[in-house]
């Protein structure tokens, strides 16, 4: 399935083929012909042979079409700006009405006559669950990607890679439902076991009830981002130049040494991109966490007791009974989430783009 065009999602494949052209539009070599040249119209003068070509009209179809595409391109920038503007516009009145500190108050009751709400606990929960999910998912995903690209027989690898791509398309609400109905009971057993034997570690302390915890949420998140990270990094690993791999093997490297010296360094930007995309998805994940976390407001590192909350899950849960200020407060929290994901994404893209230019100039 190397030919599927979803490489669009990762920009960091490190390949030079796509990247060479981002300075110049394709077909730039033929820019001479850009002006609409209507050779068929009789040039009028009837000079034998090299009559002057007619001048391009000022407002031709060419200009209209170019303007249309320019407008579509600008629309992207407009949409991103509009997202920020409208969120701010709706968030500010609610933030004005807030009677507590938005950053530090642990609780969410914006619908009261004295609205009180704070983002601290939610932002903490978002970062904690995403970080845990990534911590679990990345090593496993890289392992699967290496297995599919370098260990499994070629046909099996292709078939399983196809399967992984399909799993990446499974909607999050399905994972949420599965996490709540099926996965929660083994996680509860595990939590009880951890609490029994490792209760002295604050992470696993507490005295129940267990189950709908940060751990369940993070595990479900990990399972969800697993196919994404796997599929992207598998593609990157498959793109390693065969010459590099064979050179490593010819120097007597074992298979693992070959992977470590030839494949992993080559794929590093792609791996970072895949991780960042996984992180972006984990940060913004809503429904799966709304279904699996036991919603509480508070900052706690306890992983196994019922509790945990994230910005996105809180929006989904609290939206139903929100009034005017409540909606504004949720929009304000969404603005914080938007900012966090924007920073993560811009950082990731900047890393990839810089790296890309570097490899390009080196090549």
């Amino acid at each position: 399935m190397g030919e599927t065009p979803h490489r669009s999602a990762d920009a960091g494949t490190g390949g030079t083929r796509v990247t060479q052209s981002h300075e110049w539009p394709a077909g730039a070599s033929a820019r001479v012909a850009e002006a609409p040249v209507t050779t068929r119209s009789p040039g009028g003068t009837g000079l034998g042979g090299g009559g002057a070509l007619p001048r391009s009209r000022k407002f031709g179809a060419e200009r209209a079409f170019r303007g249309l595409t320019l407008a579509a391109g600008t629309a992207v920038l407009v949409i991103i700006a509009a997202i920020a503007i409208f969120l701010v516009a709706k968030a500010v009145p609610a933030l004005r009405a807030n009677t507590e500190n938005f950053w530090s108050y642990e609780g969410w009751s914006p619908n009261d006559t004295q609205p009180k709400f704070g983002i601290g606990a939610l932002a903490f929960g978002t970062v904690l669950s995403s970080a845990l999910a990534l911590l679990i998912a990345v090593p496993v995903a890289l392992g699967i990607a290496l297995y599919l690209s370098h260990y499994a027989p070629r046909r099996l690898g292709t078939a399983l890679g196809f399967l992984v791509d399909l799993l990446a398309a499974v909607p999050s609400v399905v994972f949420g439902l599965w996490g709540r109905d099926v996965f929660s009971s083994p996680v509860r057993d595990f939590s009880v076991w951890l609490n029994q034997h490792f209760g002295w570690i604050p992470l696993f302390g507490g005295d129940g009830p267990f189950g709908a915890s940060v751990m369940l949420g993070a595990l479900v998140l990990a399972i969800m981002v697993l196919p994404i990270i796997t599929s992207l990094s598998r593609e990157v690993f498959l793109q390693t130049p065969t010459a590099n791999e064979e050179a490593a093997l010819a120097l007597g490297a074992t298979r693992w040494e070959m992977l470590r010296t030839a494949v992993l360094p080559y794929g590093r930007p792609g791996i970072i991109a895949a991780m960042m995309l996984g992180l972006g998805r984990a940060l913004g994940e809503t429904i799966a966490l709304a279904l699996t976390l036991g919603i509480t407001f508070g900052i706690s590192f306890n992983l196994i007791q019922n509790g945990g909350n994230t910005i996105a899950a809180n929006i989904a849960n609290a939206f139903g009974e929100a009034n005017e200020t409540g909606r504004g407060a949720l929009i304000a929290s969404g603005l914080v989430l938007f900012t966090i994901t924007l920073i993560v994404n811009i950082t990731a893209r900047a890393i990839i783009y810089r790296r890309r230019e570097f490899t390009e100039s080196a090549a």
């Binding site: 077909g27 920038l77 909607p171 609400v173 040494e257 429904i287 994901t341 924007l342």
Partner: protein, 362 residues
């Protein structure tokens, strides 16, 4: 030369060990595995700290340690590392397959309960907590309409944007657009829902609706468009770049203007790839719950008008049934989930098969 060869042949190999490294016998790995499991069972049941799951987990760890130790003694350090990493990579695969298989299995086994004709012909209107029937017709209608409108909005916009990036744009501005399309792929779906809530539902829709904000399927379509746009732009862009330059140059040489070249030569050549990208974007959008929850509101009755009143969607139906207290709700949720996954997977598989037939494969 011949003499050296013959002499080499006649002489028995003096130091075969230096030429061929010692290897663990083939039965070493299974033997270590059995020993590790046995040891772990003894430890776990002896101290009474857990059940069979712990035996397997501890056994796996002991196996890794034992394998490393044995290989280290017989084959040397590098080979031992190689074996350990290989075992780790294989176990990562097994570890990940388990939950994913469980998801698929649950989906099929639980989803089959309510997979009947009634489910696809009725809505949830007037279905109380004690009614076992009720279906997802209204949700399917909602999903199709919302995704359809979103596709109608996004495809022209996305394709034109990609054309600008590939064919016309250059310099900083085009680079900025490219960059922000990339950034836009990472916008969480809930944020796009909040954006449409703030922009369309709370500010624009009161104009049409006597000053009261109104949920609608169209608002959901707008939110889905925000999510689909970057996917479509990126995939179209990649496909346009793959169109061979000689095709364009041939058209230019015949005196065809650039816009006509793009519409008549470049786009048709890239069409299968563009369609693939669009289908993948549709599949992604169909599974989104959060934006629909925020701006379409959901509803129990059939509403075929996407511009007025609440509308549901399949994914939102799953979410709402999952939160429903009725004892029949989980079965409905799972069947709707199965339907949703089937829809998404059919789209995805069709898109991938189409991609295989694409002439512009790399």
């Amino acid at each position: 030369m011949t003499t050296t060869v013959t002499s080499h042949r006649t002489r028995p190999p003096a130091q075969p060990d230096s030429l061929r490294a010692k290897r663990l016998p083939w039965y070493a790995a299974p033997a270590i595995a059995v020993a590790a499991l046995a040891l772990s069972a003894v430890v776990v049941y002896g101290t009474g700290i857990g059940g069979p799951v712990l035996v397997v987990v501890l056994g796996a760890i002991l196996y890794l340690v034992g394998l490393f130790a044995a290989a280290n003694v017989v084959e040397g350090r590098r080979s031992a590392r190689n074996r350990t990493w290989s075992a780790l990579i294989h176990s990562a695969f097994v570890l990940a397959v388990l939950p994913l298989v469980s998801v698929v299995w649950t989906l099929v086994s639980k989803g089959a309960d309510r997979l009947d004709v009634n489910f696809f012909q009725t809505s949830m209107n007037n279905i109380g907590a004690r009614d076992a029937n009720g279906g997802a017709y209204h949700a399917i209608v909602g999903t199709l309409e919302q995704v359809g409108i979103a596709t109608l909005i996004t495809v022209p916009l996305g394709v034109l944007c990609a054309i600008y990036i590939v064919e016309y744009g250059r310099g900083k501005f085009a680079f900025a657009i490219r960059f922000f399309v990339d950034v836009m792929t990472g916008i969480p779906s809930i944020v796009s829902g909040l954006f449409v809530l703030a922009f369309w539902v709370l500010i624009v829709s009161p104009w049409f609706n006597d000053g009261r904000p109104s949920f609608s399927g169209f608002a959901a379509a707008l939110a889905l468009s925000v999510l689909m746009l970057p996917t479509i732009v990126r995939s179209t862009e990649e496909m346009l770049r793959l169109v061979p330059a000689p095709l364009r140059e041939g058209a230019y040489a015949l005196g065809v203007p650039k816009w006509k070249t793009i519409l008549r030569v470049v786009l048709p050549t890239a069409l299968p790839g563009i369609v693939t990208g669009v289908m993948l974007a549709i599949a992604r959008a169909a599974g989104e719950t959060a934006p629909v929850l925020l701006v379409a509101g959901g509803g129990a009755a059939i509403n075929t008008n996407p511009f007025e009143n609440n509308q549901s969607s399949l994914s939102l139906f799953v979410y709402q049934q999952a939160g429903d207290a009725s004892k029949y709700a989980p079965a409905r949720a799972w069947t709707a989930a199965l339907t949703l996954v089937a829809l998404v997977l059919i789209l995805t598989i069709a898109a991938k098969l189409l991609a295989r037939r694409n002439r512009l494969s790399r």
